[in-house]
């Protein structure tokens, strides 16, 4: 990734008082976002550990219950998110190259794709709720071996927490869009776009793990 262009000794108009150079601010923000993403991965890894424990100790529960998940819908969502990562990366590139129209366009597409993801999840959730495939003591389904309420507890928790992060991403991307329309970003300052992009890629990567583990595992 190229670095921001320095256009003056004092840096761009968003240089904060406690940094001496724009470069220092850019590097700090990037490191900060990387650390935040590390923390997010640890957060989800806790859930993956719970998943691993349930899978290891109650395999029949996992295998029976996950048949109830719709692989086509999960697959579509995977494609949707991957594409949104692409458009987000293009948005960052546009900012770096000072292509304001492209930047806004790609941000809008990313937001729309994220919304599509949520809509598909909505359909998946309502389908399960109707069938009584609910977590824990609310489980009212039939015909599944083992303890499916544990599986659905994990399913809703993992995809739900992931979904909250998608919503958070949408909110932040809308904020970026507002700032982009104000003309805040360009070749000498695109830090927020790049860092939100990094966050969005992590959200995508987490889904890349969730999908096979929950939907595809045999």
């Amino acid at each position: 990734m190229s670095e921001p262009v320095e256009n003056s000794v004092t840096g761009h108009r968003f240089l904060q008082h406690h940094f001496f150079t724009a470069r220092q601010q850019y590097d700090s923000a990037k490191l900060g976002m990387w650390l935040f993403c590390v923390q997010e991965i640890l957060f989800f890894s806790g859930l993956f550990m719970a998943y691993a424990a349930v899978r290891f100790f109650y395999p029949e529960t996992m295998l029976a219950a996950h048949e109830f998940l719709s692989v086509p819908m999960g697959a579509i969502n995977t494609v949707v998110l991957l594409t949104s990562s692409l458009t987000m990366a293009l948005a960052v590139r546009s900012a770096q190259l000072n292509l304001q129209k492209n930047l806004k366009f790609h941000l809008v597409i990313t937001i729309l794709l994220a919304c599509v993801f949520l809509v598909i999840k909505y359909f998946e959730y309502t389908h399960k709720i109707h069938a009584g495939m609910l977590p824990g003591k609310y489980y009212a389904g039939e015909g599944l071996a083992g303890s499916p309420w544990i599986f659905f507890g994990l399913y809703f928790l993992m995809t739900g927490v992931h979904g909250i992060h998608v919503i958070g991403g949408i909110v932040v991307m809308v904020w970026l869009l507002i700032r982009a329309r104000r003309g805040d970003f360009g070749a000498e300052y695109y830090t927020p776009v790049e860092n939100v992009g990094l966050y969005w890629h992590v959200v995508d990567v987490i889904w890349i793990f969730l999908f096979p583990l929950l939907y595809l595992v045999k």
Partner: protein, 550 residues
């Protein structure tokens, strides 16, 4: 040795200190100045320490006699649970990093603030919100699960578990964001000339602590989320009758909570490094050994969580691995203690209040560490687990170590933060009460514990008379020690507050320290330094005659 940073004594110069730069409640609540945020954290931490301490006094009154005659069993169970939860989450974890760390870290690095000042403010407000949830749990039915929330008791009791887990969940983010801020600040905002090996050891300790905060706290968040879901939705992951496993909760919980105890002690160790050097005007012995030991302790600390679970039913092999690694973490800890003692060799030791507390740390923390050996050893842990031996061990390390170091650091940097000097006489009087009080309180508990007295017992009169009398003997001694300790703490509070009103004003460097924070005014100006400070020497280069006025 002169410095390149210009300083202005507030009495002479025309720029006001950070305390008076802006006025009004809003200028504090919405500040982005790391120093003001540090002060706000300090006030909050001291407030919660008092609450936790009063709960402890309640516990000690009950335990002084064998029958459960002071409060009911349910009330007692809430007392010890809330004492633990408040002390762990609201006091010891944030104490040094969020108050002293926030204040001193940018100054020691020669920076004008932390990397993300607004995030720092957010950390503080998140802390307050988390604390409110925890306090709400107290008034809405209390909490009686023990601060460890073990299932299935925590999923079936009808006290305010969810309010408490939500509070702790929120508090975790405060901790994570502080750690994130510190790591970026240390990497990207050191003054020119400050290589990694010229950083004060306090910074190294905060760095190691921050790594733990970022990696471990999210796992606590998930653990609490799973517990909350288990209680609310009955998922069954920890419930044996629904196909789950209660021991799984313990693994999740301790995976965070063991590294958490290193969050509690590492910054304290950093403070001790600052104190034994500055107050004996001597370079540190074994800089690299101490710095790398901090990181080693942080990393190895992630691998030992199962030593809380030797009798839980986990496999023998797992227990053996955890025991071995626990001894692994003891070695860098011992190295540090030896290095601090060696630092005093051929120094010029001043027995100031901070130095006295540093010496007390060496005494008490060493006892804490050595008693950890009994617990890390598999066969002896079987007998000692869940007895008063464990309670005494962790109070020696967390309080005799962490909290004493916090008090030491508070006294050391008090002139810098407030521009005032406290009364050395009262400092020493309170020190004696605190040190003697603490030692009596908790040494007695070792004896009760090795003799088999279990912990979390409201009364201990349903057992053989001989053991009951023995336990009562040591527990009554412990309670007396606690009252003395409490008096000492209150005296500290009084003379510190008194110094704010009537204390002598301090110059920029009352102790003659060599790190960058002593080259600003006391208290510092809002932006810490004029211009860009340059680091020209190590933080403990004392080996020259130096005259610094107080």
């Amino acid at each position: 040795m002169t410095t390149a940073a210009e300083t202005i004594d507030p009495a002479e110069g025309n720029e006001p200190s950070y305390l008076s730069a802006t006025k009004g409640l809003r200028s504090w609540l919405f500040t982005v100045d790391h120093k003001r945020i540090g002060i706000m954290y300090l006030v909050a931490v001291l407030l919660f320490f008092m609450v936790g301490g009063l709960l402890a006094i309640g516990i000690r009154i009950e335990l002084a006699t064998a029958p459960g005659d002071f409060v009911s069993a349910q009330t007692y169970n809430k007392l010890f649970t809330l004492h633990g939860a408040i002390m762990v989450f609201l006091v010891i974890i944030p104490a040094i990093p969020a108050s002293l760390g926030n204040f001193i870290l940018p100054l020691q690095l020669g920076a004008k603030d932390v990397a993300f000042p607004k995030l720092n403010l957010a950390s503080f407000h998140i802390y307050v919100v988390g604390a409110l949830f925890l306090l709400y749990a107290i008034v809405s039915g209390g909490l009686d699960t023990g601060w460890t929330f073990y299932t299935p008791y925590s999923t079936s009791t009808d006290t305010s578990v969810i309010a408490a887990t939500t509070g702790a969940f929120i508090l975790g983010f405060s901790s994570i964001f502080t750690g994130l801020n510190f790591i970026v600040t240390i990497h990207k905002m050191r003054a020119a000339g400050m290589t990694w090996t010229r950083m004060p050891l306090f910074i190294w300790s905060l760095y190691a602590t921050s790594v733990i905060q970022i990696l471990a706290t999210p796992v606590l968040a998930i653990t609490l989320l799973l517990l909350t879901m288990e209680r609310w939705l009955g998922i069954g992951i920890f419930d044996a009758s629904m196909g789950g496993d209660p021991v799984l909760f313990q693994h999740f919980f301790w995976f965070y909570s063991h590294p958490a105890v290193y969050i509690m002690i590492l910054p304290g160790m950093g403070v001790i490094s600052e104190l034994v050097t500055t107050h004996s005007r001597k370079n540190i012995f074994g800089y690299r050994a101490i710095a790398y030991s901090s990181v080693a302790i942080a990393l190895i600390g992630f691998l030992v969580w199962g030593h809380h679970m030797f009798v839980s039913g986990q496999s023998m092999i797992a227990s053996a691995i955890f025991s071995f690694l626990t001894f692994g973490v003891a070695v860098p800890t011992a190295i540090k203690v030896f290095s601090w003692v060696a630092t005093l060799y051929k120094g010029s030791i001043r027995l100031t209040t901070p130095m006295l507390y540093a010496l007390a740390f060496l005494f008490l923390f060493t006892i804490g560490g050595l008693t950890g050996l009994f617990l890390g050893t598999l066969a002896t842990d079987v007998h000692l687990h869940d007895t008063y031996f464990v309670v005494a061990h962790f109070h020696h390390t967390m309080m005799g170590g962490g909290l004493i170091a916090f008090i030491a650091g508070l006294h050391h940097w008090w002139p810098k933060m407030t521009g005032r000097l406290y009364s050395e006489l009262w400092g020493k009087i309170a020190f004696v009460l605190v040190f003697v009080g603490f030692s009596v309180t908790f040494f007695a508990q070792f004896v009760a514990g090795t003799n088999g007295m279990p912990r979390r017992y409201h009364s201990y009169d349903s057992l053989s008379p001989a053991m009951r009398d023995l336990y009562e003997y040591w527990q009554s001694i412990s309670s007396i020690g606690a009252y003395v300790l409490g008096v000492g703490m209150f005296i500290i509070l009084f003379y510190l507050i008194h110094s704010l009103i009537r204390g002598k004003r301090s110059g920029p460097n009352p102790w003659g320290g060599k790190s960058l924070e002593w080259e600003t005014a006391s208290p510092p100006i809002e932006h810490n330094f004029h211009g860009h400070p340059i680091c020209k020497h190590g933080p403990y280069d004392f080996d020259e005659i130096d005259h610094q006025g107080a």
